[in-house]
């Protein structure tokens, strides 16, 4: 059986007045059925654009997918018609967004919004869809679902709204759930509840999750494999345990050492020096070299490839993946 999702050197560029933004620049990774993949990186590294590209919802203009391919169950998403895509969205691939306060339409009740997806994809009548919406609210652990289904978003708290979003996303039993920073806007206790809920539902429904976050703690909690992105590129791919034990890419290393630890004494927190590069004007060579403590001459001149170092670990770094130098040369 083919992999659930496979990105092959995906390139999504934005053509702005300031220049071309290489938001996603040759990104490759895959997701197996029923697996949770974490995608980590700073704001603006292309995580969200990758997700939008998979649904083909990149705002155009200015954005455009200009290269590579996205295979969902072996079929190219880029070659589908718009009608086929609408069929796929919400049905096979669902997405939940970062901001639960604004992701629900203020003029419809929660029930109506969940029911819309069900009506659209499962051809149920409004009455039946609303009944199913009650079941979905029950599934995501909202107390009093019969009452809540008739309430408007402004009557719910942030955590409740995110649960409604999850109910909406899961209402058609998607094979892949993309969660774009699903807990960032929530406070810590609610975060834990929502993550727990997603974990349980994954067990129950058997879907794959692509979890986009900048929070490595969330990754450790949820994912099996991780993809680390920096400035539109995948810089490292690894299983979670391996990544935390021994990060290969200097950027990952920096990220990990910036996490405050409870179990050892610490002075100031580690920071990665410098700033995220301007996406219109990326540094030559390795995009991380201006901030990297291990920079060598070659890093300034040539872009490293993503190299398999064995055991499912891929890294794109001249210093850490020595083999690549010989290969390229």
């Amino acid at each position: 059986m083919s992999r659930l999702l496979e990105l092959d050197k995906l390139k999504t560029y934005f053509y702005t007045e300031e220049g071309v933004v290489l938001a996603v620049d040759g990104v490759s990774f895959h997701i197996e059925r029923g697996e949770t993949l974490g995608v980590v990186g700073e704001s603006g590294c292309g995580k969200s654009v990758t997700a939008l590209s998979i649904l083909r919802l990149v705002p155009n203009p200015p954005g455009r997918i200009i290269g590579g391919d996205i295979l969902f169950e072996g079929q190219s998403i880029l070659r589908k018609t718009e009608a086929q895509m609408r069929d796929l969205r919400g049905n096979d691939i669902a997405m939940i967004f970062q901001e639960p306060m604004t992701s629900l339409n203020p003029v419809y009740t929660c029930g109506e919004q969940i029911a819309e997806a069900i009506e659209l994809h499962q051809g149920l009548r409004k009455r039946e869809a609303l009944e199913k919406a009650v079941d979905m609210l029950k599934l995501v652990g909202i107390p009093g679902p019969e009452r809540r289904v008739r309430e408007y978003p402004h009557q719910l708290s942030g955590g409740m709204r995110q649960r409604v979003m999850i109910a909406m996303a899961l209402s058609c039993n998607p094979k892949l759930l993309m969660a774009d920073e699903p807990t960032t806007a929530l406070d810590v206790t609610i975060q834990a509840q929502i993550l727990e809920l997603m974990k349980d539902l994954k067990q129950e429904l058997g879907m794959a999750i692509m979890l986009i976050t900048h929070d490595l703690g969330v990754i450790a909690e949820m994912a099996k494999r991780v993809v680390v992105m920096y400035a539109g590129k995948v810089v490292e791919e690894a299983d979670v345990a391996g990544l935390f034990r021994k990060p290969l890419h200097p950027y990952t290393e920096g990220l990990l050492s910036s996490i405050p630890r409870l179990n050892r004494p610490q002075g100031r927190l580690h920071v990665i020096t410098g700033q995220v590069p301007n996406p219109v004007n990326l540094p030559p060579g390795c995009r991380f070299h201006p901030r990297c403590p291990y920079t060598e001459d070659i890093c300034l001149q040539r872009e490293p490839e993503l190299v398999d170092t064995g055991g499912g670990r891929l890294v794109s770094c001249w210093v850490r993946a020595g083999g690549s130098r010989a290969e390229v040369a």
């Binding site: 967004f97 339409n105 003029v107 309430e151």
Partner: protein, 287 residues
Amino acid sequence: MGYGMDGLWARARRRLGRNRGARAGLVIVGTLAVAALLAPVLAPQPPGRMDLDRVLLPPGPGHPLGTDYFGRDMLSRLIYGARVSLTVGVVAQSLSATVGVTLGLVAGYCGGWTDLVIMRLVELMLCFPDLLLAVGLTVALGPGPYTLFLALGLVGWPGMARLVRGEALALRDREFLEAARATGTGPVRVLWGHLFPNCLSPVIIAVTGGMAACIMAEASLSFLGLGAQPPTPSWGSMLNLGRPYLHLAPHLVIFPGLAIALAVFGFNLLGDGLRDALDPRRSDFPG
């Protein structure tokens, strides 16, 4: 929280009920609507019945608002006149709202070239003075009720399009639209099912205000003889007919003038009330 089971509309209704001006506006507009609907029942006489023995009578028994030059009962004519004013207002506003909302939504949501073309068209239309455009159209097409609808509808849509485009522009990047698209909702349904309801309150406010403007415009055109044609009684044409007798029988202009002022006042009050009631930023509990 705190609203229990009710939604946005119930809240708007409650706020409207608490606003004294809006209540007054609602009463005036309601009275006019009832008068227009039940004109044959309410009017003491048919509006066209002449009585040449009793011309230019001042208000008094038998004719509470007096009679005109042909001995027609003024009250009956005013009641039937409400029909003309309100019909013109409703039809013309429906026309301009339909065209304006559609073009405004499309322009704001699609952006790019579509927006550019539609907005240039809007600006072109806004270059003409409203009344002049209406007068020109009426002259070109010949006076009559349909011309009136068309002329006033055509004058109204650019403003509506501009208003709705602004709203759509502010909303187009909101996440709930993204979420709707991500659920597989098609573009037409995103536009009308998700974007439009969120622009509804300014549209309602604009339509109410537009009604007042339409009544004024209809009166102006009828006063100039370009609106409702005799023997249809219209407030504007009654003013015009009464003008030569200003000294002899001032009630011929006073009452139609009052009717116009009252109707415009009523719709404006209601519009202001709706503005407050439908403003989502306003809280029910100040402070």
